[in-house]
């Protein structure tokens, strides 16, 4: 192990991979006898998990954690914005359909 090995980054990576593989389990739970069915719970869960991953990537990998307050606030706001936009459109679309 090199002296510069960063334990924190490793754990971040592990968490991200963990969330990613959890999708396999979600998918397994949601598929009944091989036929995919529509599910609002899965959709919302998938989007929220993805946004959590995005925030982790921004905080840790992109080093927003140590950045000026403005960037922290802005990126957090952006994650919320993306989430609200996507879920909002999804819910609205569902209602219209």
């Amino acid at each position: 192990m090199t002296p510069s090995f960063n334990r924190r980054l490793f754990f971040v990576w592990l968490i991200l991979v963990g969330i990613t593989t959890s999708y396999l389990w979600i998918d397994h739970e949601a598929t009944h006898s091989g036929v995919p069915t529509a599910s609002a719970v899965i959709t919302v869960a998938a989007i929220c998990l993805a946004l959590i991953k995005v925030r982790i990537i921004m905080r840790e990998f992109m080093e927003v954690r140590g950045a000026p307050q403005l960037l922290c606030r802005l990126t957090d706001f952006w994650v919320v914005l993306m989430g609200v936009a996507m879920l909002g459109v999804y819910v609205a679309g569902k209602a219209i359909a």
């Binding site: 960063n6 991200l16 899965i42 921004m58 950045a67 960037l71 679309g93």
Partner: protein, 179 residues
């Protein structure tokens, strides 16, 4: 601030553009749910998971690269950058394999609504990745030449690469998992 603030303008602006694509996709999905689900069943989820893990690992390498460069371990940093580019290349190959497989089964850009969005989103992400190779190339050149080396540029390049990564994280969830 990690890297040029200017790059963050790009990240935020391009995130908005992508969010708008995602919204269009999600809306269209809710209107034709059955058809989307039928087409979606032809995707291999494990391939999408593999893609994501490859890209996340590549991102991890770039994050290490930035830290190594900061502490003056330029040799290590360069190796990290090569690893990131290599994993990016693996992603590229996986993507092409996936496209060829789908086209082979008759699922093309024009075959159904879902695949229209699938090919569009994966292709526009692919273009971002190709630009990413140029960015990693700049990063490696910077690390090589002591006269050019600037931590700010290293961080700017890394920020771009992570952006490509998190766009994929969203695209993956929306195309492969959403029901």
């Amino acid at each position: 601030m990690p890297g040029q603030p200017d790059m963050w303008v790009f990240v935020l602006f391009e995130s908005l553009v992508f969010t708008s694509y995602f919204c269009v996709y999600l809306y269209s999905r809710t209107q034709h749910e059955a058809s989307f689900l039928r087409s979606q069943a032809h995707l291999l989820l494990w391939l999408g998971v593999l893609d994501t893990v490859v890209l996340l690992t590549s991102s991890w390498a770039v994050a290490r690269c930035v830290q190594h460069a900061r502490t003056g371990w330029y040799e290590q940093a360069r190796r990290d950058a090569w690893v990131a580019a290599g994993l990016g290349f693996v992603f590229l190959v996986l993507k092409i394999f996936e496209w060829v497989r789908l086209i082979h089964f008759g699922h093309t850009f024009t075959s159904s609504q879902f695949f229209q969005y699938f090919f569009f989103l994966t292709a526009i992400h692919f273009v971002h990745l190709l630009i990413g190779f140029v960015v990693i190339g700049v990063l490696i050149l910077q690390l090589k030449d002591p006269k050019r080396r600037r931590q700010e540029t290293v961080e700017t390049c890394a920020t771009y690469w992570h952006t490509v990564d998190f766009f994929w994280v969203l695209i993956f969830a929306l195309l492969y998992v959403v029901r």
